[in-house]
């Protein structure tokens, strides 16, 4: 099987990561921020997979599994926080949460 070139995989990962980053930076709705974070995590995961297949190692896949669990845990905690936030502030606008300014 003709393998997909490593570059393609990495470029895809980079594009996904950028999309996620831009999402994090531009969206004010915290649900979308969380979703963008997921995209970034998965971009990272993709990079691991690409690397693993390039070198024929299993470590990359192990790392991806780690990232999956991490993402799941993060979403769980994140959604919980979002619900708390909505209860308290009646909004999901992340800019409201700026009480920690110096």
């Amino acid at each position: 099987m003709e393998s997909i070139p490593v570059e393609h995989g990495l470029i895809l990962a980079a594009i996904l990561f950028s999309i996620g980053l831009i999402g994090v930076l531009t969206r004010r709705n915290i649900v979308f921020v969380l979703m963008s974070l997921e995209i970034m995590l998965n971009a990272g995961g993709l990079a691991f997979i690409v690397g693993a297949s390039r070198w024929g190692h299993a470590e990359g896949q192990i790392m991806f599994l780690m990232i999956l669990t991490l993402a799941a845990a993060e979403v769980a905690v994140g959604l919980g926080l979002i619900i708390q936030m909505f209860r308290r502030y009646k909004t999901v606008d992340i800019n409201v949460l700026s009480e920690m300014k110096g």
């Binding site: 980053l21 994090v24 930076l25 531009t26 004010r28 921020v33 992340i94 800019n95 949460l97 700026s98 009480e99 920690m100 300014k101 110096g102």
Partner: protein
Amino acid sequence: MQDLIWLLPTYPVLGFFVLVLTAGRLPKNIVAIIGAGSVGLSFFTAVIIATQFLSSGENYFIKEVWTWMAVGNFSPGFNFYLDGLSLVMMLVITGVGFLIHLYATGYMADDPSYSRFFSYMNLFVAAMLMLVLGDNLVVLYLGWEGVGLCSYLLIGFWYINPDNGYAARKAFVVTRVGDTAMALGLFLLFTELDTLNIQDMLYAAESEWEVGNDLAVAAALLLLGGAVGKSAQLPLQTWLPDAMAGPTPISALIHAATMVTAGVYLIARTHILFELAPSVQELVGWVGLITLLMAGFIALTQSDIKRILAFSTMSQIGYMFLALGVGAWSAGIFHLMTHAFFKALLFLASGTVILSLHHEQNIFKMGALRQKLPVSFFSFLIGSLALTAFPYTSGYFSKDEILIAAHGLEGPGIIFFYGGVLGAFLTGIYTFRLFFIVFFGDSNAAHPPEKEYGGWNMNGPLILLMILSLVGGFIAVPLDPVFGHHEEHHVSGLLHGFMIAVPLVGIAISFLFFYTKTFSVEKLMSNTFAQTLHKFWNNGWGFDWLYDRFIVFPFLWLARINRADIVDGFYTLIVEISRTANVMIVKTQTGYLRWYALSIAAGLLLLITIGVLL
């Protein structure tokens, strides 16, 4: 018995401690007994010691008490040294001191701080005795500072009036300037000669330094600095007139008879050093001459009875300095002694006048007191005659010796001589100006006296001092072993007559101006030149003004602008810089999550870019 010399300062010190520890709880007559009695005991002991010493035929006597400190080769002791010079000083201090104490028991009788007064007085006598009896310069310095302290305490005795406190501080600080010079002189002497024991030091100086040696000059100059401070000579003379703020017995004891003459004692004591530095010795003479003339002119214009006497004291100490400057050591000390008699007499008598007139000190508010105050009148008469060197009074002999010695000196001697004679002329005028205005003419007193103030304890000392002022000139002072026998100077009979006549002319002028009123002071003062001169002299030749402008005000100004301590400003600046930095950096802490994410991303990008480029 001579071994008991340590008792001399011990009695007054004990008196001091008893009075301080009882803190005014003792009744006044007990305080008087302790205060005056301790000095009386000292005098009694001093007389016994003196007779023994003189009959023993020894030239000096040393009593070692204990080693004060021993640090390397520096080991001054609390030792007493008695020779002709310290003998004279010791007797003057305890004798005149006792009379003044006795007088003060009456003078201060109404004062609520009676006990405090006598405790200071006793401490003063003790310190003064340490000054003249110490065998080394450190003990001398102890006494030197001690008398300065007592002078401060007693000038500021009536502390309620801030002016008195100011005068006291001025006296202390100005003399401290001189004291510091003297301390430096001590350091120099010790560094060069390895001892501060006076006799050893003088011996070492004589053997190590030839005449005119730079170090000898420097050391003598520094000691002279101390002497002019304590003795109120140019240029540190400004404190003495203000010191008259103290009670009158203080002015008699400290600011006329004893403490202010300490400078004369110091120079006489270290005269070998001054002989090694002839330029400084000549300077001593010049200082004396200028001071005696300056003070004489000032005294002509004063109206406060005590200030006139203060300037006269300054002037008479000028004579002593003049004597030292021409090498007439014995004459200087002799004049010190006679001056102690007649100036104490004048001050104490002025005290009686002041009290009788309910604390009036302005001579123009007195007048016609001759009959009302007979004791004061005779005291003033005799004191004034002695002061103006009227033939065969005590002052005549001593001043005569000084002037003749000055005449015998080559070089500046002739200036010293005629300057001294001019000073005697001024003395005649200002002394009898005071005398005639106070005791003759019309009464200008606001509260004319009913009777003369004082009982036996005040009049007794006055009478004794009158006798001493009259016949004190016949006392033979045993100073030859100390200073060596000097050749007798002689002047021609004509010149001697001139010397005697000049002060009499001064008295005559005073007589015409202030008694017969043949000449009018108003007429003399009518032109502006005379008025300006009067004002200038009245303000003490502008020295206070000068020192205020160039020393006191700049110091105060410096103190005021730097109250907050500029060094602290540097540390405050560091604090301010970090605070500003904090404020600026805090701005980046917006609290917006997205802002943080952006900065992380941007930072990452930056790092990667740098990594790629490098």
